[in-house]
């Protein structure tokens, strides 16, 4: 029997990108292990439903993906919290039976994206949730998150969430979209390059119109209020650069607001392994430098999917497949020619994907004026309660980089490790001191997710701890 702790390729993240990578490499003959935190493969988009109500709105593609994976030779390690990736490559995870260590020659990081929220006063109140969190509730539990719901932010996810809430019998009292009608008009020709997705968008829009949901284009949420939980939402129109016109502020009563301002690549693995990164706002922020196959600057480390740059589910599967093919090739499982042939179709699709996802990205990206208008006393880092004013004081005190701002303020030091606030903090510092490139990103640090000490240490004998030699006296 082959060693269950040693593989040719490890893939982290079982969304469309990771699954495609794992399957492609396994088909080429590589021994592949696929990890994910979730109990089932599918990632955010094809999240497996947990309740009957959730199953009613299941996406067929997710089921197809899961059955293809089940039929493949890929070793599945789901429900694993990966906390450390080192040494090209040693992967440490906490699983249902405790700590697990796996070694692999090559690694595909396909860890997806997380949501960005441009902070406004009150955004940390109970009742304010992310669009992604709303999607999770709807998909896995078929549950409507509140009674009077405002859906706000930017990008196609807005209409998707609003339509799903309506379909599940919920009440959407307002849809607040940063994009103006002109923004949407400009995007349409590019969105039309993917007719099926455009049609889906139109169906959502029709449902929203049928329910007579008030839609405010070119508006943003500028405040959320409530004694102990959300009771009302303040909304204002935006100027062309995104600055809100507070003179025209108006209030909407709501007990839940789902809000999101686009996505940020969840690229911790490539950062912890010190791959080179570049800041590409259209791709959601810092992305690893890659060749067209997904090879990063670290040998045998590949990055694919939204974790390597926001582009959506279609491109994620394509970049995943390319990374899987490249890894199999680099490990000697398939000849250069076979890989070229297999990759050709994917490259052809790339151009079309690109135009579509660029258009979506432009709709989602926070506008410059939005960041500039975040009030001074607004919390930016919610884990550590750090306000915009405190970040700017740190800059006044000489901080020039995000790492130094972190040291001066604790911004980004909390349990989320700066995932929530990093892009906004980076933008705010940049407004004072130059470029995002110079301001940089927090140095990648393990653990990739917070891990309970009790699980890390397990049961042990004091005498068995390999204590190193004492320092000289």
């Amino acid at each position: 029997m082959s060693d269950p702790t040693v593989f040719d390729l490890a893939v982290i993240g079982a969304g469309p990108a990771g699954c495609a990578a794992a399957i492609a490499a396994a088909e080429a003959g590589a021994r592949v292990v696929l990890f994910d935190e979730q109990e089932e493969a599918g990632g955010q988009i094809y999240r497996a439903p947990r309740t009957p109500a959730g199953r009613a709105c299941v996406e067929r593609d997710g089921e197809t993906l899961r059955s293809t994976l089940a039929a493949s030779d890929v070793a599945l390690r789901l429900g694993r919290r990966i906390w450390s990736v080192t040494e090209r490559f040693r992967i440490d995870a906490l699983g249902p039976d405790g700590p697990e260590t796996v070694r692999a020659q090559a690694l595909v990081a396909a860890t997806g994206a997380y949501e960005r929220i441009v902070p406004f006063p009150g955004w940390t109140l109970p009742g304010v949730i992310g669009l992604a969190a709303a999607t999770v509730l709807l998909k896995t539990e078929g549950r409507v998150p509140g009674r009077r719901i405002v859906v706000a932010g930017a990008g196609p996810l807005l209409a998707a969430v609003a339509a799903k809430i309506l379909a599940a019998g919920g009440c959407v009292v307002g849809l607040v979209d940063v994009s103006s009608p002109a923004d949407w008009l400009r995007a349409t020709p590019r969105l039309a390059t993917k007719p099926s997705l455009l049609a889906q968008g139109a169906a959502w829009a029709a449902r929203i119109a049928a329910a007579r949901v008030p839609v405010l284009f070119g508006h943003a949420v500028v405040a959320a209020e409530g004694e102990t939980a959300l009771t009302r939402v303040g909304v204002a129109p935006l100027s062309r650069n995104g600055a809100p016109d507070l003179a025209r502020l108006r209030w909407e009563e709501a007990d839940v607001m789902a809000v999101g301002n686009g996505l940020v690549p969840g690229g911790e693995i490539a950062k912890v392994l010190r791959a080179e990164h570049v800041h590409v706002p259209e791709r959601g922020g810092w992305v690893p430098k890659r060749d067209r196959w997904g090879r990063t600057t670290i040998p045998r480390l590949y990055a694919a999917g939204d974790g390597a740059g926001i582009a959506g589910a279609g491109p994620a599967a394509r970049t995943g497949r390319l990374a899987g093919l490249a890894a199999a090739h680099d490990l000697g499982f398939s000849g250069a020619e076979a890989v070229e042939v297999a990759g050709r179709t994917a490259f052809r699709e790339a151009g079309r994907d690109r135009r579509f996802s660029d258009a979506v990205s432009r709709l989602m990206m926070p506008r410059a004026g939005q960041i500039a208008a975040v009030p001074a006393e607004t919390v930016v880092c919610r884990c550590e309660d750090v306000t915009r004013a405190e970040i700017e004081e740190a800059v006044q005190a000489g901080a020039r980089t995000l790492d130094q701002v972190k040291a001066f303020t604790r911004c980004g030091m909390g349990p989320c490790q700066g995932r929530m606030c990093g892009e906004t903090a980076g933008d705010i510092v940049t407004l004072q001191v130059g470029t995002r490139g110079a301001v940089g990103w927090w140095t990648g640090r393990p653990p990739l997710r917070p891990v309970p000490l009790a699980d890390l240490v397990g049961t042990f004998d004091y005498g068995d701890i390999p204590v190193p030699k004492p320092a000289p006296l």
Partner: protein
């Protein structure tokens, strides 16, 4: 060309930062040149423990005086580094550790550290968070910790107030004697001229000294640390073990920093780039064994930093042999604790005052004989 500064200090850690501050306050026109951000290497990422029980015996007299400086940092530095003065315990769980502890505590006590040995019951009174199995403990009232990541903020403000010209993100690439002083070349091709120079480069002292044609091997230790999320109080003292491979304390905001010098991977060129997961687990096992309440928390972050060590594991602090008005400082074991005092001694020497305790001359470490003084 006439030097524009009386003193150039290269390297903004606790050593360079303190020398620059004290010399500027004494009237020298001072520039502090730092490759990256202020206090972002060892002096900003260390565990901040201010303890005698991990300090080398030869450094105890220095560390005691330095501890008093940290305790009064708000007065002389003028800014807060989050210093907490509290009791410290060094634990022994095995017979071997008991022997080691008794010996080491004795030697440190002879050197002046007020360490007494106490039994398990007394130890548990001092630190109610301790787990079972303690056989003996070294108890020292002169202990505590600082919040190392605040050093850059605090020193930055103090340095600015003292009129030090701060040149951060400015790597120095070469130093040459020039016109009755030194000319420092920076990576951007700029030249900074100063009458005197202090090299305070931490683990980078080795390449810095090569600017003077000297070869002084300096070992690079890659120390790992971990920190928990904020948690309810589980301990009130600084806790270590006899071997020195554990240091543990809870900050007022609730996080617990777990250290002790377990080694990660990295080097001078790349920094502390990688944590060794098995070492991290070993370190955390020691921590949870000593203070079981910790196990209820989650590990939020772990990192590694570089600590310098000379051939005899004793510091460098003194003139650079063969070069007038040039000095080097660093490689101080547990150097965050002792750094401010040893730097103050060097500042005295630079300012023409007699240092109160001996410096640590570089001559003993030279791999090759020092060149003769140029005419």
């Amino acid at each position: 060309m006439i030097p524009s500064y009386d003193l150039a200090v290269v390297g903004a850690g606790v050593h360079g930062g303190t020398v620059a501050l004290l010399c500027a306050r004494a009237g020298l026109k001072t520039v502090l040149v730092e490759r990256g951000d202020l206090f972002r290497e060892a002096s900003g990422v260390n565990a901040g423990t201010l303890t005698m029980q991990m300090t080398r015996v030869a450094l105890i007299p220095y560390a005691l005086r330095a501890h008093a400086m940290w305790a009064s940092a708000r007065d002389w530095l003028g800014h807060d580094v989050g210093v907490v003065v509290c009791d410290g315990l060094s634990l022994a769980f095995t017979e071997g550790e008991e022997e080691l502890l008794a010996y080491r505590a004795g030697r440190r006590r002879e050197a002046g550290a007020p360490i007494e040995l106490v039994g398990p019951a007394r130890a548990a009174e001092i630190e109610p968070g301790l787990g079972p199995g303690v056989r003996l403990a070294g108890y020292c009232r002169v202990d505590g910790f600082a919040n190392a990541y605040l050093s850059g903020l605090a020193y930055g403000a103090a340095l600015r107030e003292a009129g030090v010209a701060i040149r951060d993100n400015t790597p120095v690439t070469a130093v040459e004697p020039s016109g009755g002083g030194y000319a420092l070349t920076t990576k951007t091709g700029e030249t900074i001229r100063a009458r005197r120079i202090v090299l305070a480069g931490g683990v980078w002292l080795e390449p810095m000294l090569s600017w003077f044609g000297l070869r002084v091997p300096i070992k690079v230790l890659v120390n790992q640390l971990g920190v928990t999320e904020r948690m309810a109080p589980v301990m009130r003292t600084v806790v270590g073990i006899a071997s020195g491979l554990l240091s543990l304390k809870q900050y007022p905001h609730g996080t617990v920093v777990i250290g002790g010098g377990w080694q990660g991977r990295g080097d001078r060129e790349r920094g502390g780039v990688e944590l060794a997961p098995e070492s991290l687990i070993g370190n955390i096992r020691l921590a949870c064994h000593a203070v079981p309440g910790l196990a209820a928390s989650r590990l939020a972050r772990a990192w590694a930093g570089l600590e310098a060590e000379t051939a005899d594991a004793l510091p460098i602090a003194g003139p650079i042999p063969g070069h007038e008005d040039a000095y080097a400082i660093g490689s101080v074991h547990s150097g965050y604790t002792s750094g401010p005092y040893i730097a103050a001694l060097l500042a005295d020497r630079i300012l023409g005052r007699e240092p109160a305790l001996p410096l640590f001359p570089l001559d003993r470490l030279l791999a090759e004989p020092a060149p003769t003084v140029p005419a």
